[in-house]
Amino acid sequence: MTEDKKEKEEERKGKYIIEREYIEDERIIEPEKLDIGGIDASGRWGVIVLPRVISDFDHSLIEEVKKLPRGKHIERCWQCGLCTAVCPVAHKEPNFNPRYFIYIVKMGYKSEIKKLKKYIYLCQGCGLCTEVCPKHVDPSGVMMALNILFDKL
């Protein structure tokens, strides 16, 4: 098993990039042949990293969430972060961040949603976030709605 893993490590895209762990796999392109203005740049130096700039806002996801059960107050959220502050799951797994999930859905950042899709399952429905939310967003319910939404995306 370790032999397989080692091989996989060497097969990883962009393995020569320093601080490689900050870049998502989808943004690295390693073309077989790369020709820049007549100069052959294939191989180790021909690795392209796509920018991670957000170039547009997409508010269609918010409309979908508002139709799902218990997701109708998602628009009230003002990103204060109280829900994440009391969430017991967020303290163990920092990638599960209710406030951030609501934000990326509100603004429609699909690349971030793809990155964090797999953590939405961790919600335990304990309801602490709903207790403390100052705007009555019902984050516990919104997490339920986001479970359904992220399954579709």
């Binding site: 991670r52 700039v53 957000i54 170039s55 547009d56 806002f57 508010h59 628009e75 009230r76 003002w78 990103q79 951030y100 934000y103 990326i104 509100k106 603004m107 950042y109 971030e112 705007k135």
Partner: protein, 351 residues
């Protein structure tokens, strides 16, 4: 001498108008000196459509004040005039008033002075980031207010904008320009965003902010804007604005995503803040008033605004600190009472 029942009020903004009304109703004479040709100060000069937070039309608040001042026989109004100098004689001030149009000089004897010279909006062309004055469709909240008063919000080519961005804290809270906070910009910008949404219902409005400081009871504007009018908030700052020939490319950082954004907008509104105007600086020089490090008039004790520290001179309104219209009206009334008390004390023969 008759000078002891007259009070000079410099500036006919909300503070000055309220002070004049109170003094005239009390029975004293008022000399009201205003630099511009219209009374009413910034709300009238920039045609404020409504006042936050309840969308009260400006005429309802300032209209009665202006009418009273114009029609009252105890109030002498000098428009297009400034106070050029004074002499202190016994118990009263001999004021020299210069008319800016025809350069004529008048003299008045008054027993006390109220300074209510107000503010000016920060001129964003000083800051090259936003391209104000160079890029079309980058406007300030003062210019937007005029558009809203006319009922039509349009781009420079006459088209209706679909995506509008508000940038808060322009010129304010910045060591390079104005280090202070303008108190009311956040509330006013949100109020304008709601009004645009009412005029153009299918527009997308984004407010790019560092903090949202809707003071006191104005908080309900913030909640309303998110819940009823679906205005989007991006916490972040804008670095540059480019004009692509058709739209504005806004480059900034979204703090919550910890990443850059470059999005196209149809129109950008800069929330330019308040700064002490030319009138304030000139009056401070004439009367020798203390000015703090920001350029605002500095009262003797910072928390008591009307007391300038100089005998017989009182301060009111936005020349002391940025404030909303309701606060300025209150300060005008307070300064009026202090001026009346001072004048009456001087009238008595003190043993």
């Amino acid at each position: 001498m008759e000078g002891n029942k007259s009070i000079l009020v410099i500036g006919a903004g909300p503070a000055g108008l309220q002070a004049s009304k109170d003094i005239a109703e009390f029975g004293f004479r008022v000399v009201l000196v205003e630099k511009n040709s219209e009374l009413g100060g910034a709300p009238i000069r920039w045609r404020y459509h409504t006042l936050a937070p309840d969308f009260v039309p400006t005429e309802k608040v300032l209209g009665p004040l202006i009418d009273f001042v114009k029609n009252n026989s105890l109030i002498t109004v000098y428009t297009n005039s400034i106070v050029e100098g004074y002499e202190r004689k016994d118990d009263f001030f001999k004021i020299r008033i210069l008319n800016l149009r025809n350069k004529s000089i008048s003299y008045e004897n008054v027993s006390s002075v109220i300074v209510a010279t107000g503010f000016e909006h920060y001129n964003a062309s000083v800051d090259p980031r936003y391209g104000y004055g160079i890029n079309p469709n980058v406007i300030g909240i003062n210019e937007l207010e005029i558009m809203i008063s006319n009922g039509k919000v349009v781009r420079h080519d006459g088209k209706i904008p679909k995506r509008i961005g508000f940038i808060l804290c322009v010129g304010s809270r910045d060591k390079a320009t104005n280090p202070w906070c303008c108190t009311v910009c956040c509330g006013v910008s949100i109020k304008q965003a709601i009004e645009i949404k009412k005029i153009i219902p299918d527009s997308q409005i984004y407010i790019i902010y560092m903090d949202i400081r809707t003071i006191g009871l104005w908080e309900k504007l913030y909640w309303q804007s998110m819940e009823n009018y679906h205005i989007n908030y991006i916490r972040g700052r804008v670095g540059e604005i480019y004009w692509t020939g058709e739209k504005l490319l806004v480059k900034g950082e979204d703090t919550l995503v910890r990443g850059p954004f470059e999005a196209l907008f149809d129109m950008i509104v800069l929330a330019v803040g308040m700064e002490p105007g030319e009138g304030t600086k000139q009056v401070a020089k004439v009367f020798g008033l203390r000015v703090n490090e920001y350029g605002f008039l500095s009262p003797r004790i910072p928390n008591i605004h009307y007391d300038s520290g100089k005998d017989g001179i009182f301060l009111a309104g936005a020349c002391v600190a940025p404030m909303s219209v309701e606060e300025a009206i209150g300060e005008g009334s307070a300064a009026a009472l202090q001026a009346i008390k001072y004048s009456m004390k001087r009238d008595r023969k003190v043993p």
